[in-house]
Symmetry: C2
Subunit: 498 residues, 2 copies
């Protein structure tokens, strides 16, 4: 089995069914023909088995083709975050030794970094038009690496998460065990496909010969129009999108009665957002998904939480998904009793093969087959997981992960910055916003600091707000006490919700 | 992951929930404690890793404990058909070199065959009561053999189908991808647990912390009473049970409104039986499952076939399950076009590791990773599989497989029998009945032949009907033309339904 197995089934049981509806509509027979031609085209580019092929693009049918065919043909997919700076993109391309990139960004800056740049959609379409159908190799097996999924690192260097075919197929089964996928499923691809959130449903949908609708970039009005026009049945969004969709639906209601399954994840979600979502999408069963890139991504699920919205469990991120073992452990890796805070660890066929070329980081992230999420939480007596903090000092803003240290490193490169502590503060739209507490050597404008950061790190990582202090609170050992800095900002808020 | 992983999750998410309702009721916490004590007890019997442990018993909670714990503790389960003769049981025990058997049959005949015989329920309960809880080893992995599942052979010798933990867990996911399992699932274990049909739902139910109701031996009135009393939501039956349930429900209706999911398989099903089942269980979604012991067992599924009951596809056994690749191939193993008859082959993580100690039979059954079912069928243009015959000359009577050659071998051992051809003929209750066409050397009573057979083979294999002929039709090469013998019996019937 490999990432093309679901598509083979879809073609066999429903070749004339719609794989993609709306813009770029295709039947499964047509999609299959394009994937066979893409297989031929990739071979024609001179790629060898296991070579890395990057994609930096907005959501589209072409992305879905590359997502399945690059790994299915024996290569390794490298999805890149289009919001990253050229420096960040170049780092991932160089780290992964990628030889070919498919992109709808300006191709120019990539020219010196990879051997071949193929622009979407024009060059891609030409490539397919000129290629003959080629059957993918039959020896791409589930243990092979399907992709390197880059994720931020605490040290500033991003890590390529190696996910195998088995990892991603197992995750599809974990999702199908929880939610009904069938030929009538019509999924709105709303989250960016370079994130696990964007492709979380892809294999389950294809396996069932369901259909996709692509949202190129998120816009709540366009999303609702697509749901109404194509009778979308299911989707996954990040909490900021959920809030925006609920607001837009309240502002100008569409017929969203087809939407029976609405999942969200990737960041803490405010209880108020859930209340609004429930009101805006009354036909939809809500599902909260907690996961990580390293876990392909599903770890825990909180289904039907409308039933417990007013109970404490609404603030949890649910129970271990069927197929995923979850433990909360102490510093020695021993499971702690219910109610005790520890680190969330996960085990199962969905756990990554490791970090690309980073054996030490891999060793640190894994213990006896368990992946250490770095998230601090406790479980109640029925294994509902309640997050209390993130041990990795990560901020989740608008569904994107930001590591404090990376932002602090950028700030320290400005001559005026003496001390810096970066953390998340509550934000009505983004869930959390990046905030910096600074001690400066000389007066400096906030905007100058932002501009300085923008040259080094992606826009969404740049601090939205600053506080200037004469000193930062420190422990006896001189460690900055971020918790003390954070506390006043979070005083009026619920704890971290999932 | 291994066969105890689902139970670990159930205990973690719903320890106080019911694992078994009705007779022998247990919560998951209680079930777990019993499984831990069983682990201790098995170690106390002196068993070594990989040793075979047989079960020959009616359905019960104890069977469910053994089904999960024997493999989970690192041993190999050998479920035996209680309808088999002592000679057949002794063969399987000897072939598998089983050292311990748990049985509710007369223990006496097993004494000389295995080292230890533990009677159910008394000795079993004593064993558990005297054992300390012991944590199962943590290195039983998905590639290990979980059980040897004996299945009839064309040569008369039964074969032990080696299913790994992965095989059985994969099948559970294939089932969950098709049907909703959740904590509210209450499953009636109606088919015998020594068959794949009896345990087909077990892991999916446990994984979701759903509950089981056990039907010790099939009786349609008792089954309906249990459905009504415990608000059973789902079950799987063989077609003869389906017919009996529908008749009983028509005769004396119970409240079966809780039964929303009713699956059946293991044998051809008459269209009339489906019509009656639909009328008797109007709330239930019907699901036809086609499979084999070697495929753990699901291969194809025909869901919601009430929608196509009057269409030709109602006579198919459905489409490949999500996760299982299915091909119909010619004699060289090449896929044939839609509409062309060939042999059904299946590939996926649910395919057996092979036949125990039978490398040649294994080699014959497998080709390039594909399991050859021996069933002849064609697929239509959307991969609905229509069976037309069985290349292995197998009769399915009341859910049991009978190989013609085994019955013929028994008949040949009677001095009066000169020629014998055994095949299935339609039967209103059993689907097919075993029928023998004979050329005899001297006059012999039917009942004498039946008695002769009963000493050699299980009751259900003994011919129900006979025809005595002066000669049997033969090909030019001298091969008996069974198809010609079969034809007049099947003239008024639909083709083989799944």
């Amino acid at each position: 089995m490999n990432l093309l197995s679901p598509l083979r089934r879809a073609v066999s049981v429903g070749g004339s069914r719609s794989a993609i509806v709306g813009q770029g509509s295709l039947t499964y027979d047509e999609l299959w023909s394009r994937c066979l031609r893409l297989t031929g085209a990739l071979a024609g580019l001179g790629l060898q088995r296991g070579d890395r092929v990057a994609v930096a693009a907005a959501n589209s049918g072409a992305y879905l083709e590359l997502y399945q065919t690059v790994p299915g043909a024996g290569y390794v997919l490298v999805p890149l975050n289009v919001r990253h700076t050229q420096a960040e993109l170049a780092y991932a391309l160089s780290d992964s030794a990628t030889s070919v990139i498919f992109t709808d960004l300006d191709p120019e800056p990539f020219a010196g970094v990879v051997k071949q740049v193929i622009s979407l959609p024009a060059q891609y379409e030409n490539l397919l038009a000129g290629a003959a159908e080629q059957e993918p190799p039959d020896d791409v097996t589930e243990g092979d690496v399907a992709g390197l999924f880059y994720t931020g690192g605490t040290t500033g260097a991003a890590k390529g998460v190696m996910l195998t075919h088995r990892n991603l197929l197992a995750n599809a089964f974990h999702f199908m065990a929880c939610w009904p996928f069938n030929p009538e499923t019509c999924w709105l691809v709303a989250a960016p496909m370079f994130h696990a959130a964007g492709t979380i449903g892809a294999l389950s949908i294809v396996w069932n010969a369901g259909s996709h609708v692509f949202l190129e970039r998120f816009d709540p009005g366009v999303a609702l129009d697509l749901i109404e026009a194509h009778r979308v049945t299911a989707t996954l969004v990040v909490p900021t999108m959920l809030a925006a969709l609920a607001d837009e639906q309240r502002r100008r209601p569409r017929d969203v009665s087809s939407l029976t399954h609405l999942s969200y994840g990737g960041a803490p979600t405010a209880t108020e957002t859930l209340r609004r979502a429930r009101a805006a999408f009354p036909e939809a069963t809500l599902l909260h998904i907690y996961g990580a890139t390293e876990t392909s991504p599903i770890v825990t699920l909180l289904p039907a939480q409308e039933q417990v919205l007013d109970s404490p469990r609404a603030r949890s991120c649910g129970q271990p998904a069927v197929g995923v073992e979850v433990q909360v452990v102490d510093a020695d890796g021993k499971p702690v009793p219910a109610g005790t805070v520890g680190e969330v660890c996960a085990r199962g066929p969905n756990i990554m093969a490791g970090y690309w070329n980073k054996p030490e980081e891999t060793a640190r992230a894994m213990r006896d087959g368990w992946y250490r999420t770095g998230d601090l939480a406790y479980m109640d007596e029925e294994a509902y997981v309640f997050h209390v903090d993130r041990s990795k000092d990560m901020i989740v803003t608008g569904g994107e992960n930001v590591y404090s240290s990376e932002v602090e490193n950028a700030l320290f490169q400005h001559p005026a910055v003496a001390e810096a502590a970066v953390f998340g503060v509550p934000h009505p739209r983004w869930g959390e916003a990046v905030h910096a507490a600074l001690v400066v050597r000389s007066a400096v404008e906030e905007e100058e600091l932002r501009e300085h950061c923008r040259a080094l790190i992606a826009d969404y990582k740049v601090p939205k707000t600053f506080e200037f202090r004469s000193e930062l609170p420190k422990s006896g050992a001189g460690k900055i006490l971020k918790r003390e800095l954070r506390r006043p900002h979070w005083a009026d808020h619920d704890g971290f919700v999932g």
